[in-house]
């Protein structure tokens, strides 16, 4: 553990220099980056717990169509495939923006964020059109319990994407004005996690709601 002496570490006051057993709190207090990101990580997990309640409701009500249209009549798997591709690609470009911000490359970061936002918008547009066509066909949320749970679950994800897009625009502006300041980079990291989490929820949605609904 001689190596510890070669780097300066943030330390809690009163901690003896050269204390043994680094890591897990003993190497000093965690950096602000770790604390902020960990806190946001906990928030994301609680958000997923909330989504799980919607998933549970949908799983229970999947068959309760009240003689109305069911998954096979309503879901267009081609559109779902395009939506999935949009979100997966946006998750990828979001990752590229994180690399760019780590390397302090402004153009790279902004371009990756812009592509992420455009793909997110495309996803949202397709989802809106799907909802509009369903409501126009008399298959709105009030038609059956199945459709209520569908609109609640998928709509909740759509609201998350919309909020994510607002955040994305804000981050692009902040990055442009304030540059790669430590606090901006922390926010960018949190936004990255949020966006990846949205894609993870979408994986569960397109599998359990759309594909299983049609395959059943």
């Amino acid at each position: 553990m001689t190596a510890t002496a070669t780097v300066t570490l943030p330390r809690a006051p009163g901690l003896q220099a050269g204390a043994e057993a680094p890591g897990h709190g003993e190497g000093g207090p965690a950096s602000t980056l770790v604390i902020v990101a960990y806190g946001f990580w906990i928030f994301l997990i609680s958000d997923i717990v909330m989504f799980s309640a919607f998933f549970a409701a949908h799983a229970v009500l999947q068959m309760a169509t009240d003689g109305g249209p069911g998954p096979r009549d309503l879901f267009d798997l081609r559109r779902v495939a395009i939506e999935t591709a949009c979100l997966l690609l946006s998750s990828f470009t979001c990752g590229l923006s994180a690399l760019g911000s780590e390397a302090r490359r402004m153009t790279w970061t902004q371009a990756a964020l812009l592509v992420t936002g455009l793909l997110g918008l495309a996803f949202l547009f397709l989802e809106m059109r799907e909802f509009a066509s369903m409501v126009a066909a008399g298959a709105g949320p009030q038609r059956s319990a199945f459709l209520s749970s569908f609109f609640a679950l998928v709509g909740c994800h759509g609201v998350h994407v919309s909020v994510g897009l607002l955040w994305l625009g804000t981050m692009m502006a902040q990055l442009f004005v304030k540059g790669f300041r430590a606090d901006i980079r922390r926010r960018l990291l949190c936004f990255n996690m949020f966006w990846h989490m949205l894609d993870i929820v979408w994986v569960a949605i397109f599998t359990l709601v759309y594909l299983v609904g049609v395959a059943r």
Binding site: A3, G27, A37, V60, E102
Partner: protein
């Protein structure tokens, strides 16, 4: 620098933070690219299995769930950089706790609801009669569907001469879809024409003879005038009768045309050009789907039980509050236990306001 430090002292890693040497954009992008390719592969597999018969049907949802879990793993590893290394223990533990809660919520819900469904008595035993009728789809409300297809057969036998309206074509009411060359019809017209000419010739002859007879002043001629006038009196009505017959034969020529009965779409066409068809043959020559019409089946309220096929009724639609619509009863099936019979109602649908899936309820007879 940060990476060096973390390697040396094993500080905690921020969740989602870049793990690789971040100065190198391309080496970092490789990890994301790998994640993207793996995710795309798993997604494509999931969509492929959904529409295929490669897997035993009931196992498809299980296979899809496995693929989804695998893809979520890929996302966590390659996009969120979650590892099992000691510096990531706090992140993994938080995730593990979240997963436990998610499993409890979803698994517990499914488990409880499954057993509640098992322990429910079958619906028919507990439901009152009115609800029972509703459950079997025979309630007072009916679900609007597209109108049922209208068959159109040839009215006369003959050979198909001209043919239009292929399957799938949009047609307008009264559009000519086929003409049939019916020898019996053209013969009737020819016969009618020759009969008319013969009758007209007789009348001309009578009139000429009458003129000649009137010019003579002998008493014999007087008697002939009487006889000729009688003959003319017989022959003139026969001209009118022949004319009538000819008109009727010409009108029957219209039977050789097959016209679209309503605006709509051609569903089936069972005749080909040059083919000979019999009158009212089965299957019918054409099947048309009425475009701007809808149908629904609903039981008649007790007060309207006397209505029969052909009557018009007013109905309302659940999704379009405040609007009333008018339709025609196509058929009524006998009543079951007190209530009015099951009526099939067809309504015109201008502007396509009435959509399949909407619920309609019969309210009153139309004025």
């Amino acid at each position: 620098m940060t990476a060096d430090r973390e390697k040396l002292v094993g500080l905690d890693t921020a969740p989602g933070a870049e793990a690789a040497q971040a100065d190198h954009l391309l080496s970092g992008a490789q990890g994301y690219l790998l994640g993207l390719v793996l995710s795309a592969l798993l997604t494509a597999l999931a969509f492929f299995f959904t529409g295929s018969d490669w897997l035993w049907g009931p196992s498809i949802p299980v296979a899809l769930s496995v693929l989804a879990v695998a893809q979520i793993g890929v996302h966590l590893a390659f996009f969120l950089h979650l590892t099992t290394a000691p510096d990531s223990v706090n992140n993994s533990l938080a995730l593990a706790f979240g997963t436990l809660i998610v499993a409890l919520v979803i698994g517990g819900t499914l488990w409880i609801m499954y057993h509640m469904n098992l322990n429910m008595p079958p619906m028919q035993e507990v439901a009152p009669p009115a609800v029972k009728a509703k459950a079997s789809g025979q309630g007072a409300t009916g679900v609007i569907e597209a109108a049922s297809p209208t068959p159109v057969a040839a009215k006369v036998g003959g050979v198909v001469r001209s043919l239009d309206c292929p399957v799938g074509a949009q047609v307008r009411q009264g559009q000519l879809c086929a003409t049939i060359d019916a020898p019996s019809l053209t013969q009737a017209v020819a016969q009618g024409e020759s009969a008319l000419r013969a009758a007209q010739a007789r009348v001309t002859q009578d009139q000429a003879a009458l003129t000649v007879a009137r010019a003579e002043r002998r008493p014999a001629a007087r008697r002939r005038i009487g006889a000729l006038q009688d003959a003319l009196g017989r022959d003139e009505p026969s001209v009118a009768a022949a004319q009538q017959e000819l008109d009727a034969a010409k009108a029957r020529l219209e039977d050789a045309k097959i016209l679209a009965p309503t605006d709509g779409v051609v569903l089936a066409r069972n005749i080909g050009p040059g083919q000979s068809v019999a009158a009212n043959a089965q299957p019918p020559a054409f099947l048309f789907a009425p475009g701007a019409a809808v149908e629904f089946k609903a039981s008649l309220p007790g007060s309207l039980a006397a209505l029969k096929a052909g009557d018009r009724v007013v109905f309302t639609v659940e999704a379009l509050r405040g609007e009333t619509f008018e339709g025609e009863i196509l058929s009524v099936s006998p009543a079951q236990g007190g209530e009015g019979g099951q009526a099939v109602v067809r309504a015109k649908n201008p502007g396509a306001m009435l959509k399949p899936g909407m619920k309609a309820k019969i309210r009153a007879p139309a004025e």
